[in-house]
Amino acid sequence: MGFEVIFKGKNFIRLLEGLGVALKISLVSVIISIVLGMIVGMIMTLKNPVIRAVSRIYLEIVRIMPQMVLLFIVFFGFTKMTGRNISAELSSVIVFSFWGTAEMADLVRGCLTSIPKIQYESSKALGLSRLQTYVYVIIPQIIRRLIPLSINLITRMIKTTSLIMMIGIVEVLKVGQQIIEANRKSSPHAAFGVFAVVFLLYFLACWPISRLAGYLERKWT
């Protein structure tokens, strides 16, 4: 079945290291996306028409463009344009943050606008200042709605990192392919076993996270 190659030499360790690279890139991108997404999301709720148009265009670009295209544009395009080399890891962090920020901002915007107006009004009627209203009333409610949604976004980002092998980053899928190549002669059917293990590793990374998201969603809504 091809499972024997997994434990040959350092193969399994290499797969795990590959997963580590994918997780590291996701983690950095996720943190950047959450921070920037919060800010952009709040800006998006402003009723200024220019801000609205710009954020719409941003969201549409992110949704229409496949991440892989963005990755190629940043990785190869940037080098071509500036003549300076940009590392593959940095390119992927830029692309995933560009994408994650848009998704996160849209979630934040959605949560902000879903808080009923009466919550703001009754806060004001109680004498709370604008800042106090946000700190004690609005933001705690937004965080409760946002956490499960952003955890789902995180799992999607981890899965999408499998694309970065296209620009040469040695992450878990790439390691898997290397193992298959290296063992083509001795185990011609290694592909099935290796991909099964790669699948399992992604599953193990994402499943607990999405379970947590589901749990928080049930608990807080």
């Binding site: 919550q119 004498g127 200042s129 106090q132």
Partner: protein, 233 residues
Amino acid sequence: MDEILKIEHLTKKYDDITVLNDISLTVKKGEVLVIVGPSGCGKSTLLRCINNLEDIQDGKVNIEGKTGMVFQSYELFPHMTVLQNLMLAPVKVQKRKKDEVKKEAEQLLERVGLSSKKDNYPAQLSGGQKQRVAIVRALIMHPEVLLFDEVTAALDPEMVREVLDVILDLAKQDKTMLIVTHEMAFARAIADRVIFLEGGSIIEDTTPAEFFDAPRSERAKSFLRTFEFEKVH
């Protein structure tokens, strides 16, 4: 008696539409004013202007002290327990001591029959219970004027009474209140004075006995008729 609220020539517009047209009104300390009128006549807008939730285009609203308001839809903060809902504003806005506020919150909850619910979240309460908590949340700020905007309109009929009883109890304590309601029997029982509003203007300003038994204007008469039913058999 002292005047506690004085409205002079208040005009409120949304864009070009005049919603309140030259309203003048004086309310004395301890007075219970009931405001009635057909839907869309500007009752909510009037309370919201008094409470500074709306900016006004003309005129003046002068209040000696603070207002507290209870709305038609339940507006408790869903992520806080009953006690946390009650304590937030006194502690954060009025900077009162937590222990003292907590004690008062518990006393007030007792008074409205909700002692056992103090650690519950709003989602665990019935509509009538939520509105009673909302009333307590306004009361605990010690407002000089209380504003009620159709606080029983969204309730199932069997819960209306428990909320109206709380408001009746407040009237006995000589609180100054402006009450918008469609409960005519309640209005008649609690009011010192009735205001009939239509099309953004005050049409009648009189005693409950006179308003309900001998309304002067044709419009008030036809408004009151909408609450009556003819015998069919």
